[in-house]
């Protein structure tokens, strides 16, 4: 399955994705996820949404934006916002350095609309095939965590992976000028 | 195959005619009116002329009359694109030396069939 690239021109060596992993035979009941580590926890995002993975670069701050928006970067000529998930999830911040990773994702907002955004994570973990039935609904975490971000919980190799719903997570009004409600995927 | 001079002030008509004729393997020289057509006809070996009648600068009938004055154009077939009701135009065209006419609107099949008769 080729990664579709829209708003950003084709990637080059920066990409650490091993494309040979993608393209394994999948049936409709299985999804592939890229997992990453953030503050000791493992999170997963739909691999079809992953545009590329790059290192941490200088970011240009944008005034009067939420704190978790670190700023914007130049991704081969396109302006892409970078979201700091630690701040977003209210976890303590880290100093970002050469090992910091930015995952560039394609976020869908509305019927025809898609945007490219980057999230800052501690490191990339692996790619897993997960059957839909293996994803459990996320329990209610209470007020502390916005559970709309979480699609579900999966167990892979005895570990818990938090499957993220990036469309909900990255489409809030603060991040988009458009006041369209993102369709519920359920 | 044949080199055809297609004259019409409407770009979409020129496109359609050109596309159709080229698709049949012919070579097409396009012109936007009579003046342009005369200029483009100079020094070219043309096998067939297809021309609209109503055009600015020089209409189709005048064009045909002018072309017939040129030696290499004396006997080649020249077809006018006319509308059904323009009976007098047909006569004028013939008087000017037109071979015949194709009635508008026409579809590509009709165009090819008609030029097939004269080529």
């Amino acid at each position: 399955m080729a990664l579709t690239e829209q708003n950003v021109p084709a990637g080059d060596n920066n990409s650490q994705m091993d494309h040979s992993i993608v393209g394994a035979e999948l049936d409709e009941n299985t999804q592939q996820f890229l997992t990453f580590i953030l503050a000791g926890e493992e999170y997963g995002v739909d691999i079809l949404r992953v545009q590329e993975i790059k290192g941490w670069d200088a970011v240009t701050q944008v005034p009067n934006t939420p704190e978790y928006v670190r700023g914007v970067i130049n991704l081969r000529g396109t302006i892409v916002p970078i979201i700091d998930l630690r701040i977003r999830f209210s976890i303590e911040q880290l100093e970002y350095g050469p090992t910091t990773v930015v995952i560039v994702l394609k976020v869908i907002s509305g019927a025809d609309n898609s945007r490219i955004m980057g999230i800052v994570v501690d490191g990339v973990s692996d790619v897993y095939n997960v059957k839909n039935e293996e994803i459990n609904a996320a329990p209610d975490f209470g007020d502390g965590v916005d559970s709309s971000f979480v699609k579900g919980l999966a167990t892979v190799d005895e570990k818990m992976v938090i499957i993220l719903d990036i469309d909900h997570m990255l489409n809030s009004n603060e991040l988009a000028s458009v006041n369209k409600a993102v369709d519920d995927e359920e | 195959m044949a080199r055809i001079l297609a004259v019409d002030d409407s770009a979409s008509m020129r496109q359609m005619v050109s596309f159709t004729l080229k698709g049949a393997g012919h070579d097409v020289v396009e012109a936007v009116d009579g003046v342009d057509a005369l200029a483009k006809a100079q020094g070219q070996k043309i096998d067939l002329v297809i021309s609209d009648v109503n055009m600015p600068n020089m209409d189709g009938i005048t064009l045909i009359a002018e072309l017939r004055k040129i030696a290499s154009f004396k006997f080649i077939p020249m077809l006018m694109l006319t509308t059904e009701s323009a009976g007098d135009k047909k006569q004028q065209g013939k008087a000017a030396g037109a071979t015949g006419w194709i009635v508008k609107p026409f579809n590509p099949e009709q165009l090819l069939a008609t030029i097939g008769k004269v080529l």
Binding site: - | A11, M13, S85
Partner: protein, 823 residues
């Protein structure tokens, strides 16, 4: 092979919209009293093209609608119809309807069939009304078929066709052989050619046609099919088409063909002498027959006779053919005026002459056989004479006007509106393209020079110098190319201006005002996209002038002004911008009313002091309209703020200057291109921002003695004789500045929409052209920021939006005020 016409539709729509614009402009320019023929012709041709194209590409509704327009215009250009104001108005309305129809079709939307029907009826009624001549309705497409005078001949087994092209037929590019070939496709064909008219070689004109053909075509064939083959040349030839007579004399079978042939062969060597003798005898015996041959020479006629005899004899086996041929001949003879009695004369004379030449060989049997044969021939020819001539059926204009049955319902079930119907193609003058090609050429040269340099092994002083000059050249090439490419997207503003004469014409009529529209600077060019988007705001501003600006004639006269108001639309280039001015000599803005309204709605504080310019600028606030009566022309005050917003979205500004009683001037400034900006880099804290050069008036170092505070919240700077509010960018953006003391910073004085502010920055860097990248594509719009750009080092710099900054700073100031008050 099925053809997909839709690939041509885009071009068709584009040229049709252009054609409609031309029609409109020319209709407006028509002098109703003395209509200029060339103008009418132009309008006619435009309508004709649209009709032709729409028919060809399957848009039948459009075709039938346009057809009536075309008919009216055709009458006008022929002088058969007077050009009245009423007709012009109806045609103008029709142009509107056509535009709507084409737009709807292009967007695959529903057609407004009611509106179309109403206007079509107006057109039809106009057409039906008596035109100049007292002839009845000139509905040239009346579906009256010329009555076919074709006789009701029952199914014939075939046809005999006589075809003799006129001598000059070849000079119309028609080829008889082609026609015969075509006939052959209709049925079984056998033909006989008569070459007797061919003159001697030296007298022969190779460009002429001398042959005549008699063709037999068998099969179940319609006469009209045959006529169609000759459709183009019916005036250029003799043509008779007769059905094959069904009775074939049974005597044929008893004819001793062998004998006839033998005799003929025997006589053949003396054929010429024989026929000469024949005519000699014939004229001797029957002098009055001579008149029949007045149109021909004896030699010709003799040759003809001989050929005819040969024809008959050689075709004796093919009696069907023979019969038809003879029948044909008979008919022709009738046309020449040959009388039936004269056949007898011919027969008997011929027999005698043949006997004379045959001598002893003319046995009784031979005589009898030949007599029978000739009788047969004669009878057949007589039968041909008596057969009713097949009258020519004229190519009837039997076309029924294409009645539009095309469903005007949506083509797609839930009408999914196609994305913008704006034309996505552009016409470029070939000069611009050639220039660009030249530039690319130069760029290639520079590139190869630089790359050569890169291959050099020793890089010393010399190479560095070469490198520098090469880079300078590269910069020059790139800049020239960039300018050129931008120019490709530029079109003269006349494209937008041209719809205004119509607008003013219609509206001033509706409002009972006399208004003249003057256009200037129509050739000023601007970016195509900008032009497409500036249309609506301009319309609104002009409507505003028409409605609220210009007074009614009596009010004007009372005020000592000329009855006819003037609206002047002007465009010119200034700096990197295009400036559009809309000036009217109307009543100007009522500043008192505006101020009162603003105070009333709380926009302005009771005690606030505003300059005249500030008051005028209030009209751009949302919901602002001091119109006493909400006229349907300008709408209810939803206009001006939208106008400003739209213009801002294009990176431009709009402001107004007014003089009560004398008029107003609306000034729109737009960047020449949307993609590139001349910017001044400034440093604020750790960030670099770009300030659009076009907004900068000047930059000054801070002289703290010129800084004054106002009510503790705001600070102003005294620059010569004005007080300019200071905007501290680090405050607005929440950044830590490099310098905390104002005296170490710099002030960049900028202007937007008539207002000036001074931006406090830490430092100034260079000026450069930057490519504008959208922040909104992947993120969102941020107030005070109009976009972003990528600097030479690859980092992102944000581009400031001066107008936005001014709003923010005002808001902050009032927030502070509120807080202070609340405290």
């Amino acid at each position: 092979m099925t053809f997909d016409m839709s690939q041509f539709l885009a071009t068709f729509y584009e040229e049709s919209f252009e054609g409609l614009d031309i029609m409109e402009t020319e209709l407006l320019a028509l002098d109703v009293g003395e209509a200029d023929l060339e103008t009418i012709n132009t309008i006619f041709r435009a309508a004709h093209s649209i009709k032709g194209g729409s028919g060809t590409f399957g848009l039948n509704d459009v075709a039938s609608f346009t057809h009536v327009m075309e008919t009216l215009l055709d009458e006008m250009r022929d002088g058969k119809r007077e050009v009245t104001q009423n007709a012009v108005n109806i045609l103008l309305e029709s142009v509107d309807v056509l535009r709507e129809m084409l737009s709807a079709l292009q967007a695959e939307d529903d057609l407004d069939s009611e509106r179309i029907a109403i206007v079509k009826k107006k057109l039809d009624d106009l057409l039906a009304s008596v035109s100049n001549e007292s002839t009845a309705v000139a509905a040239t497409e009346a579906s009256v078929a010329e009555p076919a005078t074709e006789t009701a001949v029952p199914q014939v087994s075939g046809w005999t066709i006589y075809f003799k092209p006129h001598e000059d037929m070849l000079q119309t590019g028609n080829d008889p052989v082609r026609m015969l070939r075509e006939l052959a496709t209709l049925g079984e064909l056998s033909s006989a050619v008569d070459t007797s008219s061919l003159p001697e070689f030296l007298l022969m004109e190779p460009e002429n046609s001398y042959f005549e053909w008699t063709v037999t075509l068998t099969g179940d064939i319609k006469k009209s099919d045959i006529e169609e083959v000759f459709e183009w040349v019916e005036d250029g030839c003799e043509l008779t088409i007769t059905p094959i007579a069904s009775d074939v004399t049974s005597e044929n079978s008893e004819l001793d063909i062998e004998l006839i042939k033998t005799t003929f062969e025997m006589l053949a060597p003396q054929g010429e002498k024989l026929v000469a003798r024949f005519y000699e005898e014939l004229f001797k015996r029957f002098p009055d027959v001579q008149s029949l041959f007045a149109n021909t020479t004896p030699e010709k006629q003799q040759t003809k006779l001989l050929a005819a005899l040969e024809l008959v004899v050689s075709n004796l086996e093919k009696q069907d053919v023979l019969v038809r041929t003879l029948t044909e001949m008979g008919m022709r003879h009738k046309n020449y005026g040959v009388k039936i009695e004269q056949y007898e004369a011919v027969s008997s004379t011929l027999l005698d002459v043949m006997q004379e030449f045959a001598g002893d060989a003319w046995t009784d049997k031979v005589a009898a056989t030949w007599k029978a044969a000739l009788a047969l021939v004669t009878n057949t020819m007589i039968a041909g004479q008596q057969a009713e001539p097949a009258a020519e059926v004229e190519n009837s204009d039997a076309s029924v006007p294409a009645v539009a049955t095309e469903k005007s319902t949506a083509k797609k079930a839930p009408a999914k509106r196609k994305a913008s119907t704006e034309a996505s193609s552009i016409r470029v003058s070939i000069d611009k393209v050639d220039e660009l090609i030249n530039m690319v050429g130069e760029l290639v040269i520079t590139q190869s020079m630089l790359s050569q340099l890169g291959e050099e092994e020793n890089f010393g002083e010399e190479q560095i110098e070469k490198l520098k000059s090469g880079l300078i050249q590269l910069e020059r090439n790139t800049r020239e190319m960039q300018e050129n490419v931008m120019r490709i997207r530029m079109l003269p503003i006349s494209f937008v201006f041209q719809r205004f004469p119509r607008l003013v014409h219609d509206l001033s009529g509706k409002l009972d005002k006399k208004i003249e529209l003057i256009l200037s600077g129509e050739s000023t060019e601007l970016d195509k996209t900008v032009m497409e988007k500036i249309g609506d705001p301009l319309v609104h501003l002009i409507r505003n002038s028409l409605d609220h600006g210009i007074e009614t004639p009596d009010v004007r006269v009372a005020a000592g002004k000329p009855e006819t108001g003037e609206i002047h639309l002007n465009a010119y280039h200034e700096g990197g911008n295009i400036v559009i001015e809309i000036t009217d000599d109307g009543a100007g803005l009522n500043l008192e009313k505006i101020l009162a309204k603003a105070k009333g709605s709380g926009l302005v504080g009771e005690s606030d002091k505003l300059s005249d310019e500030d008051i005028a600028d209030l009209i751009f606030q949302p919901g602002f309209s001091t119109a006493d009566v909400v006229s349907d022309v300008s709408g209810r005050g939803v206009g001006m703020d939208v106008v400003r917003r739209n213009i801002r979205a294009l990176g431009g500004t709009v402001d107004v200057k007014t003089t009560t009683g004398q008029g107003s001037v609306f000034t729109i400034r737009l960047p020449l291109t949307l993609a590139i900006l001349d910017g001044q880099s400034v440093v604020v804290g750790e960030e670099v921002y770009i300030v659009p050069l076009v907004a900068i008036i000047e930059s000054v170092q801070v002289d703290t003695s010129l800084v004054n505070g106002i009510t503790g919240q705001a600070e102003v700077y005294r620059l010569r004789n004005e007080y300019i509010p200071i905007v501290k960018l680090h405050d607005v953006f929440n950044i830590k500045p490099l310098h905390t003391e104002m005296k170490d910073g710099l002030l960049v004085v900028v202007e937007a929409e008539g207002k000036k502010v001074a931006l406090l920055v830490d430092d100034l860097l260079g000026q450069q052209q930057v490519v504008i990248k959208s922040l909104e594509t992947n993120f969102k719009s941020v107030e005070g920021i109009s976009g972003a750009t990528i600097l030479g080092d690859g980092t992102v710099a944000l581009i400031l939006d001066v107008t936005g900054l001014i709003s923010i700073s005002k808001k902050n100031a009032s927030n502070v005020k509120k807080l202070t008050v609340a405290a």
